[in-house]
Every structure is written in C-alpha cells, then in structure tokens.
C-alpha cells in the first residue's frame, strides 16, 4: 500500500471520528477565550478536531471513573454503617481495563497519524520565506526566484510607556509589530526557520504553525491560509530577557495585493542601494539613527544610553573613541555576549546613521559622522 493510500484511509477514519461532537467554545483572539482557535488553515481545522475528539474521550472516561468514585464516596461511607467488602483481585477485570484503554488509544492514534503526515508534507510549496529568530525580534526574507530578495526585521511596536503602565494599553498590546510578515491567501507558503543566537520558536496559532528556530540548523514548516486577515502569535521558546516581547504578526492578503506589496518592497530595496552611495549631513544621520537605535539598541542599552543588559553608551570608551573600533563592534558584535553582529542585520545606511547617533547623542558630543561608504569600506576590510 502506498503512502498516499494509507493517508487516504487514515483521513477517512479521521472523518468518521470528526463527526463526534466538535464543539467550539470560543474563537481565538477573543477576550477570555476558553478554547483553541480553529484558525484559517485545513491543518489547523484537523488539529482542532483532533483536540476536541481527545478532549471528549477524556471527559467520557473521566465521567465514568469519577462517577464510580463519587458513588462510593456518597454511598459507601463508614458513617452510614456500611460493612466493607473484602474482594481485592480479579485477573479478568485487570485484563479488561488494560485492553479497552489500549483500543481507545488506537482510535486516537489513527487521526493523529493522518494529521501528522499532512503537517510533514512539505512538497509543492509555492513560495519560501526564511524566518530567522534574533534576541528579540524576527527577520523575514523572501527567497525570490528572480529579482531582489526582500528582507526586513519585525520588531515589537508597543511603546515602553504602555509596558510600564504610564500610558493606556491598546487592543493589540504586545501583539503588534513595526512591519508584519505579508503572505498571499490560498498559497502554500513554506517557512525555513532558523535562529541567529539562541533557540526561539515561531508560532502563529491561527495558521497552526509552530516550529523551533535553532541556531545553525534550518527547520521547515508550511501553511496555507484560507482567509484574508491579520493573525498574531508570539515566540514560544524561552530565549532570554525579552522572550515575552517578540511577537509575530502575519498579514494574509489577496494574491494581487501581495504582488503589489512585493513589487514595492523590491523597489525600496533598490532605493536603499542608491542611498548607500550618497553622503548625508549630521542632522539627517541623527534623525535616521535615532529611529534605528530605538528599534535595535534600546532594549539592551537603554533609552538614554544608560545601559542595562548591555553596557552604557553614554560616555563609553567605544562611542567616544576611535571610529574604527566603534564600527568593529557595531558590525561584528562581541562574540559570546548578547551584543550581536549588526553587519548582517542592518544596511549600510542604517549602520552609519546609528553609529553617528551613538557618537553624538546622550552627551557624547563627538561631532564626527560616519557615512554609508565608510561602513561599506570597513566591511570590505
């Protein structure tokens, strides 16, 4: 029997079982939701059905076992003057309650196997996205068959003032990013998942995708969203201090919108290339640098450069020392610490801007500036 036939058989069995009660207590994302979201994928639907089947089997077994127990608790009390029976073994009964649960388990294993084989069917993906986990943000790279690869980072956009309770929290508190992943509807999208530093896990409940992002290895997983919408998730594997602050937002859009969006992103990528050849004034670099700093540096080095997980930038020997040393740290990071190598994460314009910003903000009034060409030259050695 071929694998496909086996899968079809298992799917039929799953279908029969799925006609058992499939009660959805509440949809996902709602306040005080009680149950798993059904989501917007076929895999998500079969996982949800599986979840409900097992839940109801457990409820039935529980009702039976606890029923007998509560019957005894109520009717076989010493205070009612009950004389205890003395029976204490029965091989037949023991065999029965070994075999029957085993059979129940087999009926659970059949649909579970079928769903698992579906999840592991990576064939025929229509597009690939490389997802890389960083402490503490995600990078998405669209692996294009032609034209520019589009790549960007997706950072938490909830302001610190909401986290530290000085402002009211918005509805998408901690589940919002500066730039979401955009994918087309009704398209099998394969995700190649990896990490840059520690292990992360990329999880979007409504897309029924959770895969660990492991540094040095590439995992694959996929989804095919049936509905246009915005779906939110979070990193699911403890990855250090800001594990709770690296959400995932996926916009599922129509195929046309996706094509338009991708075209725009590719244009932007080309524009950044142009910018790299330009020379900027101090003010331009400071303005751009401030935004880059807020997205990439602030979490560790503090809003005023005062330090935290990272060292202080205000008055630091690096930010007030030789430009070459500053470029080195920014581009290559400090191996073995949380200070990442930003050379591969930020484009040359952003790197030049943020280094200029660090040298001139927080009272470090060095007055010098770094141009994109300096970054480019430094990288070339």
């Amino acid at each position: 029997m071929s694998l496909n036939n086996l899968k079809r058989l298992l799917a039929c069995a799953a279908g029969v079982l799925a006609t058992l009660p499939g009660l959805a207590l509440a949809a996902g994302g709602e306040k005080n939701a009680l149950n798993m979201p059904v989501g917007v994928t076929d895999v998500g639907r079969s996982i949800f059905d599986l979840h409900m089947i097992i839940l109801w089997i457990c409820v039935a077994i529980g009702a039976l076992v606890f029923g007998v127990m509560f019957y005894s608790i109520i009717y076989h009390r010493k205070s009612r003057g009950v004389k205890p029976a003395q029976f204490h073994e029965s091989t037949k009964v023991e065999i029965a309650w070994t075999v029957v649960p085993f059979l129940i388990l087999i009926t659970m294993a059949v649909p579970a196997t079928s769903t698992l084989l579906d999840i592991y069917d990576f064939d025929d993906a229509e597009m690939d996205v490389l997802v890389t986990g960083y402490q503490w943000k995600w990078k998405y790279e669209y692996l294009a068959e032609e034209g520019e690869n589009v790549a960007f980072f997706s950072n938490l956009s909830t302001p610190q003032s909401e986290i530290y309770n000085t402002d009211d929290k918005n509805d998408n508190y901690l589940l919002e990013v500066d730039e979401p992943l955009v994918i087309p509807v009704d398209t099998k999208v394969r995700f190649l998942v990896t990490a840059n530093d520690v292990i992360h896990s990329w999880w979007v409940p409504e897309l029924a995708v959770k895969k660990d992002a492991i540094p040095g290895f590439i995992n694959e997983t996929w989804t095919r969203a049936n509905e246009i919408g915005t779906y939110r998730g979070q990193c699911a594997e403890l990855c250090g201090k800001d594990h709770g602050f690296m959400p995932i937002v996926v916009e599922v859009v129509s195929k046309e919108d996706y094509a338009a969006w991708l075209g725009e992103k590719q244009e932007q990528a080309a524009k950044v290339k142009e910018l790299m050849a330009q020379t900027f004034t101090l003010d331009e670099l400071m303005e751009r640098g401030k935004a880059v700093y807020a997205r990439n540096c602030l979490a560790c080095h503090g809003a005023r450069g005062e330090g935290g997980v990272g060292t202080a930038i205000a008055g630091s020997a690096i930010a007030t020392g030789d430009i070459g040393g500053h470029l080195n740290i920014g581009i290559n990071g400090v191996p073995g610490t949380a200070m990442q190598a930003f050379g591969g994460q930020l484009n040359d314009v952003d790197l030049a801007a943020v280094i200029t910003y660090q040298r001139n903000a927080f009272g470090n009034n060095m007055g010098d500036l770094v141009q994109p060409i300096d970054v480019f030259n430094y990288k070339q050695g």
Partner: protein
C-alpha cells in the same frame, strides 16, 4: 553489642553526626519544607507580576530568574528530598529493618544538600543574577548566553545528583538486604515497591544529567562545542540528553506518591488494595516506558516524522498502566467503608486531580495537537496538575497519615481539614484557568501578556496566593502536633496495615533491633 536502647546524642551533634534513619528522615522533611516555602516565595513573585498586564514589580530578567529557581527549588529541593525523608522514616519500619543499610552514607547524602541550595540561592546576589534559562536550561541560552552564575549552578546540580544517587543506592541496598524474615518482595507495602523502582530510575538517570551539565561546563569554560552548531555540535543534543533524564525524573517525583496513595486509600476504605500485583507491574511498566518517551517534550524541534510517530505512540502507551492504577484505586474505594480524615481527603483529591493531569498529558502526547499546546500555559497547567495535587498532595497525605507515628500525638483534625480545603480550592483556582490561557495562545515563561489573557491571570494569581498562604497553616499544624496533642496509639487508624503500626507511637529511636516475623 552495647545497650540496644540508647537514645539520641544531645545538642547539635545529634543532628550533624546522626546515622539514625529517623533523625535523617526528620531532617530531610524539615529541609524540604523550608525549600517548599522558598520555592513558593518565588512562585508568589511570579504570580504577583502576572496579576495584571504590564510590568509592575520586577524586571523581565529577574522574572526569568524566578521561574528558573522556582522550578529547580521545587523539583530538587522540595519534592525529591521530602520523598527521601519519607523513605528514611518509613522503609526500615515497613520492612522490619533496624535502620538503613548504609547509615553513614545516609548522613552524607543529607548534609551535602543544604550547602548546595545555599550556593544556588546565593547566585541571586551574583553579578548578572541567578540562572535564568528555565529549569530545563536549554543550551545555548544556558551556556554561551548565560550569566557567570551558570558555573555555580552546574556545581549545585552535581552535588544534588550525588546526593540523590547515594540516597537511592541506600534505598536499593536496604530493600534488597534488610527485609524481615518472611517479607517477600510481593508482600512489601506499595510505598516500598514504588520507592525501589524510583531508586533504580534515579541511579539510571542522574548520571545522565551530570553528563549534560558537564558538557555545558566544557562549552562555557573549555572551548568545546557540544551544543553549538558553529563548532560542529548541536543545541538539540542538549534537549535529547536533558529529557532522557527529565522524563524519568517526572516519574521519580510521582511514583513514591503513587505508593503512599496505595496505602492510604485502603486504610480509610477499610478494605484491601484492589489488584496489588497489577499495581506493582503497572509501576514497573511506567518506569520502563519513561525511558523511551523523552522526545515528546521536543515535538517542535524538527524531528523526522518517523521519530515523531514513535514517541507519540510510546507516550500514549503510558496511559495504559497509569489507567490501571487509577482503576485499582477507585475499585478499592468501591464497596469499602469510607471515612474522610485529612490523609484520605488528600489521597482522594490526588486521584481526581492527578487523573485530570493525566488526561491533559494524553492530549499533549498527540503530536499534531502538541504543535498548538507546546510551550503554552496548557503545559504549565498540565504539569502543575500532576505535580501539585500529585506529588505535593501525596506528601501532605503522608505527613498527616504518619504524623501520629512520628510525634506520638494526633494532629488537629479540624485545622487539617481546613488546610485541605484551602489548598484544594486555591490549587484549582490557580491552575485550572491556565488550561484556557494556554489554549487561547499564551506562551509560558513570559513576564507580561496581551490583554485578552488578563482576567484568567488575575484569577490564577488569587488562587496561587490562597494556596501559598494555606501552607503556613500546615506549618502551624505540624508544629502544634510535634509540641503536644492527644496521645496517639500504636495504630491510630483502624484500617491501616503494616509493620510500622506494630511499634509504639512515637516510634522509639531504635525499632526492630530484633526482626519481626512476617507471615
């Protein structure tokens, strides 16, 4: 031979140099209770921070230290030593032995514990703070990216492992060699059986944990790359090794509680345990299966589908022997003559709530569904349902059941029942809503959360505070019982069976200097 009935030495040296199984058992129990309060304090900090959305009390880095230390202290400091304490007190008396087989080793295995936990707690005050990679300390977060305190932590784990291995060897030697004439294996009380099997598990897996942390030490200080892909290693290797230890570990924590419940349920049902033989076989089957299911903690790491299927099927199989045990307990109660003193209340709650934890465990075993449950609060709910009303309620049940034997006094039944109901309600309030949180998408180990999770988190925190405060009542009850109270007879429970009830209460400093005859 000198005087058979000499009493304990006076003063501090009694406790420092003692080789008496009862003294050592007492020290283990008090130490584990102290650790229970310490680990509980960490839990209170966690629940206070999670009371509302937003960061209020602690910083995220410190929050991670709290979750890490809470897990480590509860598993290695509270639950494991308390069961070793129970084993020390009870196993020699249950098998009619005068003491443990290796009394000096026994002293040593206790006394290396307090310094180890002192060291672990001291990491809170170190530069960079305490370990913060979770009690599962996955590499490379726990190696390349860890604070310097990881070295101290590795040293602590080595000491704890040493203590557990020595304790286990002692229990195995005692059970195999010191049983009274006529006490065949299949006549041993189930607590002795479950501990014997637990001890074998410990001897098998603690060295594996020692290997894992030694590899971490090498990676951190000596430039090896066991867990770093950049040097040819693999971060997932750490998880395989850790869970090869970690899964048997969860049975190490629960099996002795199975034993305790298997003795308390018949005592208060006034009816023999149903299916003694099948209980023994089921325990052995669970222990065997625990070695071949470790990767069900790792369904999302990207294993090949064949591996996923193997670990899913093997894990589901555990439901069979576990079911047998639950059915046996319920059948023991059926047509008994039940009364509900505090030990029985805790034992019955154990069966109900542990079974609920077992159900969620079965759900988690289903690999495709686990892709949604994994690393969410659903998992947190699951393992707290097996550990709190499982292991901890098992320990409370034992404490109330044997306190009269240990102290010679009856505990205050009204207060004990109050303690039960407060713990029962608090525990369910704290952990049941976590099922909903996890299903709705709240990841575990986060210091702050989205707004839709706010209400259940608040309920959970209130329940946790209630459970936490109730444990001070337990302390009061025990102290009160030690200091005085109604005199206990040799056998204060009319349905209780076993050799420990044939000696006076409190049990004399030396028991069974002459072995009893077991028919």
């Amino acid at each position: 031979m000198g005087d058979h009935h000499h009493g304990p030495a006076k003063g501090l040296s009694r406790w420092l140099f003692t080789t008496n199984h009862k003294d050592i058992g007492t020290m283990y129990l008090w130490f584990s209770f102290a650790m229970f309060l310490l680990g509980g304090t960490f839990a209170m900090i966690i629940r206070a921070e999670l009371f509302q959305p937003g960061m209020q009390l602690v910083e995220p880095a410190f929050f991670n230290q709290m979750t890490t230390l809470h897990g480590l202290v509860m598993v290695f400091g509270a639950i494991m030593p308390s069961f070793v304490g129970l084993a020390n007190w009870l196993i020699p008396m249950m098998i009619g032995a005068p003491d443990m087989a290796l009394p000096r080793l026994n002293n040593w295995s206790f006394w290396i514990l307090p310094p180890a936990f002192l060291l672990l707690a001291s990491t809170l005050f170190m530069e960079g703070g305490a370990p913060a990679a979770g009690w599962t300390f996955y590499a490379p977060l726990s190696t390349t990216y860890a604070a310097p305190s990881v070295t101290i932590f590795i040293f602590c784990i080595h000491i704890l492992g040493l203590s557990s291995i020595m304790g286990s060897i002692n229990i195995i030697a005692t059970v195999m060699n010191m049983r009274a004439p006529g006490m065949s294996y299949m006549k041993m009380p189930l607590f002795v059986w479950t501990w014997l099997i637990t001890a074998f598990l410990l001897v098998a897996v603690m060295p594996v944990l020692a290997g894992a942390v030694t590899m971490m030490l090498m990676d951190v200080h000596f430039g090896t790359s066991f867990f770093s892909a950049a040097g040819g290693g693999d971060p997932v290797l750490f998880q395989h090794i850790f869970w090869f230890f970690g899964h048997p570990e969860v049975y190490i924590i629960i099996l002795p509680a199975f034993g305790v419940v298997s003795q308390i349920i018949p005592a208060f049902s006034r009816k023999p345990l149903f299916g003694y033989d099948s209980m023994v076989y089921a325990t052995a089957a669970i222990a065997f299966l625990s070695f071949i299911v470790w990767a069900h903690h790792m369904y999302t790491v990207g294993m090949p589908v064949a591996g996923e299927l193997f670990f899913m099927y093997a894990t589901m199989l555990i439901a069979v022997p576990t079911g047998v045990k639950v059915f046996n307990w319920v059948t023991t109660m059926f047509r008994g003559s039940l009364s509900f003193e505090a030990p029985m209340l805790f034992a019955v709650a154990f069966i109900i709530l542990f079974t609920i934890g077992g159900f969620s465990g079965l759900m988690l075993a289903i690999a495709p569904a686990d892709f949604q449950y994994h690393d969410t609060y659903f998992v947190v709910a699951h393992f707290h349902y097996v550990l709190v009303p499982g292991a901890i309620f098992g320990i409370f049940a034992s404490a109330y059941f044997w306190l009269p034997k240990w102290t010679g006094h009856m505990y205050d039944e009204t207060l004990a029942k109050t303690h039960f109901w407060l713990s029962f309600i608090g525990m369910n309030l704290a952990f049941f809503p976590m099922h909903f949180l996890g299903l709705a998408g709240m990841p575990r180990r986060i210091p702050d959360y989205a707004l839709q999770f706010a209400d259940f988190n608040m309920v959970s925190s209130i329940g946790a505070f209630m459970f936490g405060v109730s444990q001070l009542l337990f302390l009061f009850i025990v102290v009160k019982c030690v200091r005085g109270g109604e005199k206990a007879t040799a056998k204060p429970w009319d349905g209780a069976e076993g050799l420990e009830w044939t000696v006076p209460s409190p049990a004399p400093y030396h028991t069974f200097s002459t072995p009893p005859e077991v028919k």
